[in-house]
């Protein structure tokens, strides 16, 4: 399963590996401490992952030690670092915290090892189906789900006519336009910057309308089938050109969406559950006046007092939304020198206490179904029912080794969403995704 290299590349890789690890070796003296498993995680939640590493080291009783290492904050940069080091033959990568979208790519390229069937069966036990799905490629488990994530609709109760949240995108846009004419907060916050978040938004709308980007095989493009693509693009266009739209919409990511809502300018956002602890940490965000507009005056009422959640809006009345799930999976690098120990450690790192800690301290929902009935979890996640329901209806992003290129061409083509032409763009989108799937041509 190792990537092919010629001798010269190996030499460079070893040199690079030596340069990178020399300080680490000098610092930890890991050579005389037996098996050391290095656990690379994203920067977000690194504290919890480090605690899990410490707990699992203790549980191993000296058979191995797990050292947590932090990767950059941005997913693109995490992926780049991991891929570059594995291709270079870096043997100091053992356990990798992987975004759910990387599984097919890393598995197909031979950068991660398939789980032994026995371990895979144990991982499957009690794990949410959609989350398990994200870790598989060609019917084998390559990455064990640690955390998952799903979006909900977050809204302001004081701005809803009749106090009831909208159930479809069309309803939501109507309410927003009405608010705009009344000079009240009218922004709908979505992740529409040119990045992965925009692809996620499109994929959610597309699957909710009954479409798919690629088929099961990861290579057949299905964007031209039916009317779903045009419907999804139509919703995006309407959101981006509605009266009273957020002028920075085409630059918004999850964090910026959350802050726009906390500042009192937005009436709605579709976003991950981290926004709830987020607004509580910020004392409920901005003060709002009797019309709901943000004010610097101490009115005694803040955004947090009127902040609520609802299921993600559907595309068609009476339909369900199939929200694209996110999350973090754990894989074992093909360059690791200790695969058996690494697979064992993965099981410990994703056990119930560690997932509960990630959920409570890190704000990321767990992948073990049983935790959703745990009182400690429910206390921390007032929205747990909506989250669980959303996960049960979840859709998975297109599983394809070329996912990254697919995502890049989609987000480039659909940004800014205000310039989408729903009718004309279906064909162009499909042909660009086809080129990306075959890794032909350039990515923007």
């Amino acid at each position: 399963m190792r990537p092919r290299r010629d001798g010269r590349r190996r030499g460079i890789g070893l040199l690079a590996a030596a340069l990178i690890t020399a300080p680490a070796l000098a610092g930890c003296g890991s050579d005389d401490q037996g098996v050391v498993l290095r656990f690379y995680t994203p920067a977000d939640g690194a504290t919890q992952y480090a605690q899990a590493a410490a707990d699992c080291t203790e549980a191993a009783g000296g058979r191995y030690r797990i050292e947590q290492r932090t990767l950059p904050r941005q997913a693109d940069e995490q992926r780049l670092q991991l891929a570059r080091r594995i291709v270079g033959g870096d043997e100091t990568l053992d356990i990798l915290g992987m975004d759910v979208t990387w599984t097919a790519e890393f598995a197909e390229a031979g950068w991660i090892r398939p789980f032994p069937p026995r371990v895979a069966d144990q991982v499957r036990q009690g794990t949410l189906e959609a989350a398990y799905e994200t870790g598989t490629w060609e019917n084998r488990l390559f990455a064990a789900p640690l955390n998952t994530n799903t979006q909900l609709l977050w809204y302001r109760t004081d701005l809803m006519p009749g106090g009831r949240p909208p159930q479809t995108w069309d309803e939501m846009i109507d309410i927003a336009e009405q608010l705009a004419t009344q000079d009240r907060p009218s922004w709908i916050e979505v992740q529409a910057a040119q990045y992965e978040g925009l692809t996620v938004w499109f994929n959610t709308l597309l699957t909710s309308a009954g479409g798919r980007i690629v088929g099961e095989d990861g290579t057949t493009v299905r964007l031209r089938e039916g009317d779903a693509t045009r419907q999804a693009l139509g919703v995006m266009k309407r959101v981006a050109t509605a009266r009273g739209v957020d002028p920075s919409l085409s630059q918004r990511d999850e964090g910026a969406s959350r802050l726009a809502m906390e500042d009192g300018n937005a009436a709605f956002q579709v976003n991950y559950p981290f926004v709830l602890p987020g607004i509580q940490e910020n004392d409920g965000g901005s003060f709002i006046d009797e019309r709901g507009n943000p004010t610097s005056r101490d009115t005694g009422r803040r955004v947090g007092d009127v902040f609520a959640w609802a299921p993600y809006p559907a595309v068609e009345p009476g339909g369900d939304a199939n929200v694209t799930i996110g999350g973090l999976n754990l894989a074992v690098s093909s360059t690791s020198r200790y695969p058996p120990q690494a697979f064992e450690a993965v099981q410990c790192l994703r056990n119930r206490p560690n997932q509960l800690r990630n959920a409570i301290d890190g704000g990321v929902p767990p992948t073990l179904e049983a935790l959703y009935t745990d009182p400690a979890f429910q206390r921390e996640y007032p929205a747990w029912r909506a989250i669980k329901a959303s996960l049960d209806d979840a859709s998975v992003r297109p599983e394809s080794p070329a996912y990254q290129s697919i995502s890049i061409v989609i987000s480039a083509l659909l940004n800014p969403p205000s310039e989408i032409d729903p009718h004309a763009m279906v064909g162009e989108l499909a042909s660009q995704v086809e080129a990306a799937v075959n890794s032909e041509g350039l990515v923007p």
Partner: protein, 309 residues
Amino acid sequence: MTVAAPQRPAAGDARRSEGAKAERRLAAWLCAPAVIVMLAVTAYPIGYAVWLSLLRYDLRFPQEREFVGLSNYLAVLTDGYWWSAFTVTVAVTVVSVAIELALGLGLALIMHRTLFGRGTVRTLVLIPYGMVTVAAAFSWQYAWTPGTGYLANLLPEGSAPLTEQIPALAIVVLAEVWKTTPFMALLLLAGLALVPDDLLRAAQVDGAGPWQRLTRIILPMMKPAILVALLFRTLDAFRIFDNIYVLTRGNNGTASVSILGYDNLFKAFNLGIGSAISITIFICVAIIAFLFVKGFGAAAPGSEPEGRR
């Protein structure tokens, strides 16, 4: 460096050429380490990139690696993304270098004429050039983002300049100009030192006004310095990466050719296409350098400098 002494007696000549040979050998030995290092750190990577650009080589599909000749170049040159990035790059280069030349010349004239605090003035002017580009780019980014920035607040409500192509490119040009005008000014200042004061005084006595002195004497005398400054800045500007990467990440049609190369190499992991883009940029840069260098030899003093395009 070599010793040339043609008018010597024959016997002495033989001896000297013997010495010259030895000296040349020594020179070769002394140069060798530098040449070897240069070969290792420049020739090898360039050669390797050329080789990669002829392969279909996507890190994600290692088993599909094969020799495909020039088809990667064909893919690059027939792709709309390349040409839009190329247009953006050329536009940013031309506009920013033109503005820098005008401002830099003004600054150079001021610095040249400063009577007191010369050192202080030059230091102050150089501050932007001394700043880390990425740090400066981040402060521009915050300044132009609605909500966090003082500059964005000066604009009409609801405008977000970094989200639209033309305003975003204008900000990129602004950041580039702010950053590198001092460098331009410094190079031009060195050129100004070449203009003899006697000549200017003579012209003044003959009745030439300030404008005539600038266009008829100072600029022609400075031409070599101007061309060097333009060459340096054009090559630099054509490879623009950091400002765009921080300000817009290449979104909304603001990607330069370097950003495009980076994305194909490091996001799509497509070594073949990415290398073909890099080599194409390299060729563009070589063409620009060639045009400028030819401009040096061809243009007679006083004629329109060819480099100013």
